[in-house]
């Protein structure tokens, strides 16, 4: 699903990512582990195309990105947050976008919140809305940046369950985290990143 060759990334002559080679197959759940500043987030951002970089990144299908801070649109309600991009970017009809959003919201137990604004939601609910917003764009690859950093332990189990479900539906998932315990439960493969280099795969 994803092929990365010779990926390098510099910020002002400081090397953030150094010669990354990575091959990821469909339905893999790859855990990207490393201390803060190791380049995890930057690697995810490069894969999604949010950063310019040297080297080659090939991906099949769309990628969806879930930010650590979620970055929901605070001036829109939950439903509008989800349907905005499918309508504007994928040119879906409003009816179709709403149907997709409704199905996802019902599935995640958030339908009764669809008219709420993001600031009326708890951290866990915000995260699920962010995941739904990404899923509504029909991605084949999902990138999660530190998904457990804002959650209490009870909710971490929910994320694990959800990731397993999405994997079984054929999604390829990459998760950047510094939470070993979480990644061991959720990932099919764990990759170590240190000072911008991959240590082992």
């Amino acid at each position: 699903m994803i092929t990365i060759e010779n990926l390098c990334k510099k910020f002002d002559n400081q090397i953030i990512l150094h010669n990354i080679h990575l091959e990821i197959k469909q339905s893999e759940v790859v855990g990207l582990i490393g201390s803060s500043g190791s380049g995890k987030t930057t690697l995810l951002r490069c894969i999604h195309g949010l950063e310019t970089n040297e080297g080659l990144i090939q991906r099949r299908g769309r990628t969806g990105f879930i930010f650590q801070q979620f970055h929901l649109f605070p001036h829109m309600n939950v439903l509008d947050n989800i349907i905005y991009a499918p309508i504007k970017t994928l040119k879906q009809s409003k009816a179709k976008a709403i149907a997709t959003a409704q199905a996802l919201l019902v599935r995640m137990g958030l339908w009764e919140k669809h008219l709420c604004t993001p600031q009326q939601l708890s951290g866990g609910q915000k995260q699920r809305v962010a995941i739904i917003r990404a899923l509504a764009m029909d991605p084949s690859i999902l990138l999660l940046d530190e998904p457990t950093s804002a959650l209490d332990p009870m909710l971490v189990q929910e994320v694990i369950t959800l990731v397993h479900e999405l994997k079984n539906e054929g999604l390829t998932i990459i998760i950047a985290s510094h939470d070993h315990v979480f990644l061991k439960q959720v990932a099919t493969r764990i990759i170590f990143l240190e000072n911008g280099k991959l240590l082992s795969t």
Binding site: F67, H71, F73, A85, T89
Partner: protein, 206 residues
């Protein structure tokens, strides 16, 4: 005679509306350019000049000098519309830029990550959020404009101020006409102030 002065409210309102609209269009453009680091030096010079020279000077420059430069005659209304718009655009540009600076960088990233076009991002994601924080400051600028349009009376336009002066001259009394003028201006600014309070009260926190 009070009716005659009160009729000037509509004239003052016309200048205010046109100036606020023009100022917003120019100001938004300048703020957008400056935010994106385009022509920053030029825009700063423009803003500095507009804020650093008297509006009365700018107004008379537009009315008496611009026509000879362009070789056309312009009406008092057009001169007022240009001078007030251009002047308020400098203030509005800075207000809007502050609003844009207030929008979380993550909002740009989220838009980009969802493949939202630049146009839609600015129109539907960034500007609406900026507007929410600067609404009170924008209404403040409108209040300032209401009062500053009184300068158009110096060019003979029959706005609230000019009408009050005419009545004063005719009746050899200042008190009543000027109080009527003050009350007329206050009516307009009071309404704007209430709008601002209403907006502030009903605004949902972001």
């Amino acid at each position: 005679m009070e009716i005659y002065i009160l009729q000037g409210i509509w004239v003052t309102l016309q200048y205010t509306l046109v100036a606020f609209l023009g100022g917003s269009i120019i100001g938004t453009t300048l703020a957008f350019l400056k935010y994106n680091h385009k022509a920053v030096w030029l825009i700063n010079a423009y803003i500095s000049f507009m804020r650093g020279t008297p509006l009365l000077v700018q107004l008379t420059l537009v009315y008496f000098v611009l026509p000879s430069l362009l070789g056309v005659s312009i009406s008092v209304f057009v001169a007022g519309a240009i001078a007030f718009s251009v002047n308020s655009s400098a203030y509005i540009a800075e207000i809007i830029r502050a609003g844009l600076n207030n929008v979380d960088r993550g909002q740009f990233e989220a838009s980009q990550a969802l493949g939202i076009s630049k146009f839609h991002m600015w129109k539907d994601i960034i500007f609406p959020q900026a507007l929410r924080t600067i609404m009170p400051a924008l209404i403040n600028e409108a209040i300032t404009l209401v009062k500053e349009t009184a300068l158009i009376s110096t060019l003979g336009e029959q706005d609230i101020m000019r009408r009050a002066q005419l009545v004063s001259a005719e009746q050899y009394t200042y008190l009543q006409p000027l109080l009527t003028a003050a009350a007329s201006y206050y009516l307009l600014t009071f309404l704007l102030e209430q709008m601002s309070k209403f907006y502030d009260y009903h605004r949902k926190p972001l």
